[in-house]
Structures are given as C-alpha cells and as structure tokens.
Symmetry: C2
Subunit: 243 residues, 2 copies
DNA sequence: ACGTATTTGTTCGTATGTATC
DNA sequence: GGATACATACGAACAAATACG
C-alpha cells in the first residue's frame, strides 16, 4: 500500500482530488475492468483521509459510470461500454427532412480550427485540415433549448462566417456558394450529461441529461458539406420526427 | 416550523423520505419556483435529523433539477422547464421506417393495466381503459441495449400476449388480427436518467442517461394501434435515422 | 470599505445497520 | 455464525461564499 499524498488547502477539495486520481488510474488501465478496488477503509488509509471522503469520491466515479459499488461485496471497475459499436441490427432508419434548422439562432462563436478525427471523418477530410465552426444557441420563448456546433470544410466555404451574419441563416449562406439544395444524410441520436459550458449556456443543472444529435448534410453530389452536433436540454425540448 | 415526522428503520432511508417529501412540496406548488427553501439547519430541526441527512436529500433534488444550491445564499426552487411545449419551429420532421423493431427481443413482462392519461391520449382511448403492455428487452451481442414498453388497446387485440409468444414478433402477432401493414406516425426523442428498475435491467449506472423515444404506430386507416416508449442506454447504442 | 452574521461546503470522528462471503 | 464491506446517521469543527449593517 503506497501512501498517496494529496494537496491540502489547495482550493481543490480532497474528494475531488481522489476522484480524479482514481479516474486516471482506471482510464490508464492501471485498474483493470472487472477488478475490485481496495476497500473504503483501505483507500482512506492510502490517501490519509477519512472514510467519508473516500466515499464521496467513489460516488462521483459511480455517477460517471466508471465503477459499480455493491454493498457487502466491494467496488468494481465497470466494463466500459465504449467497445460496443452499434451495428445494423441496432438502429432505426428513415428519411429526415431539414425543417427546423432554418430557425437558426443566436451566434455564440465562430472560428477556424483543425479538424478533430471525428469531424474530419464526417466531412471526408484528413484530421487537422482547416474547418469552420459556427456555434448557435437556439432560443424558444426567450429560453435556451439547444446548442448546435456546425462544422464546414474551410477550403470550400471561405468567409462563411461573414456571409452567415448577413442573412443569419445557414441555408442562405450556403446558397451564396452555389449550394442550391442539400440533404441530411445521417442522424445519430444519443444522450449524455452536459459539460459545464453547455450546462451554463443552457441554464440547466449538470445532473440533467441532454439529447445529442449528430448529423451530416451532403450536397446533391453526395459530398459532405456540413457536420452538426446539437445538444438539446432534456425535458425542455423534444426532437420530433413526424410523418 | 411544523415538525415533520419520518419513519425510522422503515427500510427507507431518512434522506430518501426527506427528498420525496420536498419533491412533493415543490411539485404541488407549496414551494413556489424561485422561492428560498429553509436553511439546512432549519430543515434538520424540522425533520428531526442531522444536517448531513438533509444535505443528502437536497443533493438529490439538485440532481433532479428541482432546486439549485448556492453557497452562502441558500437553496432555491428552480424555475421548471416543463412549461415548454415544442412547437413547429422546434422539431425535425421526416419519414421513419420501422426497421430495427423486428429484431424484437426478450419478453420481460406482459400484462393488462388501466391506461394512464399519456398512454390513453396516444392511443385515442379514455384514461383508465384497458390496455395491454408488452415490455421487451433488446439485446445486442448478449448485452442489453434498450427496453421498450409497447402499449396496445386491449379491446382490439384480445389475447395478444399469447400470439406474440408464438412468433416472438409484434408484426406477426398484429398480422393475425388482420393488420396487414402499419406505419410510424410520430417519434419524440428525449433524454432522462433511468429509473432504478431500468438501470438494473440495462446494467447501467443511474447517473448515466438514457435516450427516451416515444412513438405511435397507426394502421392504414390512421387509427392508433401501438404506443411505444423505448429507453436506450446512452453510449451503448445509438438511434440512427439514415437516408 | 470593513467586519460580522448567515449559509452552504468540507472533513473528521463515531456508531450502528445491512448485505455478502 | 462470524468476518468483511458498503450504507446510514449523528455530532462537531472549521472553511468559503454571500449578505448586511
């Protein structure tokens, strides 16, 4: 048992430090999935804190889904579910129009950045290529209901930010590049807890989930022109797919 | 300050009882949105418990989004966000096939019950009318990914449970009632945290959100025949709407 | 501007209950 | 039944953020 020292009166509470420490040990593989963590009294001695402090940290890991705490048995590293990739047998399919996206919203940020692998793959680019990000806040009745990050290949849409501001409509801006029409190619829907920034902007508690929808729009030739990730406050609005 | 008595060693922990009590006071409107709750020491005296016990209960309400706790200021009833009903400007539309639903799954429960208002409205019945509930667990690679509650009007589909068990397919069972074909009318997608039962069945932590999809299927005359509420483990599978 | 009271946040200590091994 | 391990509850003290005179 190596005693791990924490920084006391550092401004960061001990349970947060412990949670972060254990989080990293799990993510790094030092603590293998399925393995049993040391007992609470053991961890308390290791970190030199009270058992309550350890319990507070463990409850955070449980909420994150990293461990499962089982009374009388112990605390175990959960088998990650990231290794599962949804196959053809686990999805719904259909055609989605592009209604609703015209409403646009308030522009939060607009900048260039290097495409992360996920964005690059969606847009058919190489990771690191220049992309434009427009981040819009969607308000309904003066209440924020969703944030959407729109990514575009920069080489094809130089100056998109300015053209967007003229009409305040993505569709209009794209038209000025000769994109007469485009269509939604794929939409993936998922749920997660909001990061602190999204929670703040959406004025929602971090414990309340958001619906995350990712979709790719392609032009009439089938080339990807836009990748969107939207986060909608759970309970505040509902994505609706209607016939 | 009216002292509220709790049931000690009733099998339900004190903090749960307090959380439920305050939850109801908020939902009933006894505690108005924006109003300040009594201080923690005050609540502790009122319920005759330690301040820690009150804090545990308050943290639950905070995670539920019912209150916001602010250091140095107090605890306040949050303005509810349930008063927003998504309108035409806040939805996506499109056609959704019914692929993926054939995969069916393992039957968890099958019973009759009185239609709750929500179910009744979806099926075009009066609240309290007899409905059949089939609850299916959907497995992929031996891992549970979603639970779906399927509601049917009982008067139209007598003995549906048995017919379902013969083919293990809802579509097949409906065919035996002369339903040649039917279609998805509307799908609403949302996110929430799972109840303890769903979390247990899906083998997921309660802190991790689920995607909740509600949809109504109608026959070729447009009459509702099935109302489905599915809960999918966030991160484990993705609903996919594809062109 | 400052000090003080109020209110929530963190940490420790202790005791007892409940589930599992 | 006994030992182990997590769950609940109480009490005390101090820290940190806020409100107020």
């Amino acid at each position: 048992m190596t005693k791990t020292t924490l920084e006391r009166r550092s401004g960061i509470s001990l349970w947060r430090q412990i949670a972060q420490h254990l989080h990293e040990e799990i993510k790094s593989g030092e603590l293998q999935p399925g393995s049993k963590l040391p007992t609470e009294p053991h961890l308390a001695r290791r970190f030199g804190v009270n058992r309550h402090t350890v319990r507070r940290a463990l409850s955070v890991l449980q909420e994150e889904g990293l461990v499962s705490i089982e009374q009388g048995r112990g605390t175990f590293v959960r088998t990650p579910n990231a290794d599962y990739h949804p196959g053809e047998d686990a999805h719904l399919s259909g055609n989605i129009g592009r209604e609703g996206r015209e409403a646009g919203g308030e522009l939060i940020t607009s900048r260039h950045l290097a495409a992360e692998p996920k964005v690059a793959a969606a847009l058919g680019l190489r990771p690191g290529e220049d992309v434009i990000l427009l981040e819009l806040l969607h308000l309904v009745d003066h209440r924020p209901v969703s944030i959407a990050s729109h990514y575009f290949p920069a080489h094809r849409f130089k100056g998109l930010e300015k053209r967007f501001l003229k009409s305040h409509s993505i569709t209009q801006a794209l038209k000025s590049y000769g994109i007469a029409d485009y269509m939604r190619k794929r939409t993936k829907v998922n749920a997660s807890l909001p990061n602190s920034e999204d929670a703040r902007v959406l004025k929602m508690p971090r414990g309340q989930p958001v619906v995350v929808a990712e979709n790719v729009n392609v032009d009439l030739d089938g080339k990807p022109i836009e990748f969107t990730i939207s986060r909608s406050a759970g309970g505040r609005m509902q994505l609706m797919f209607e016939r």
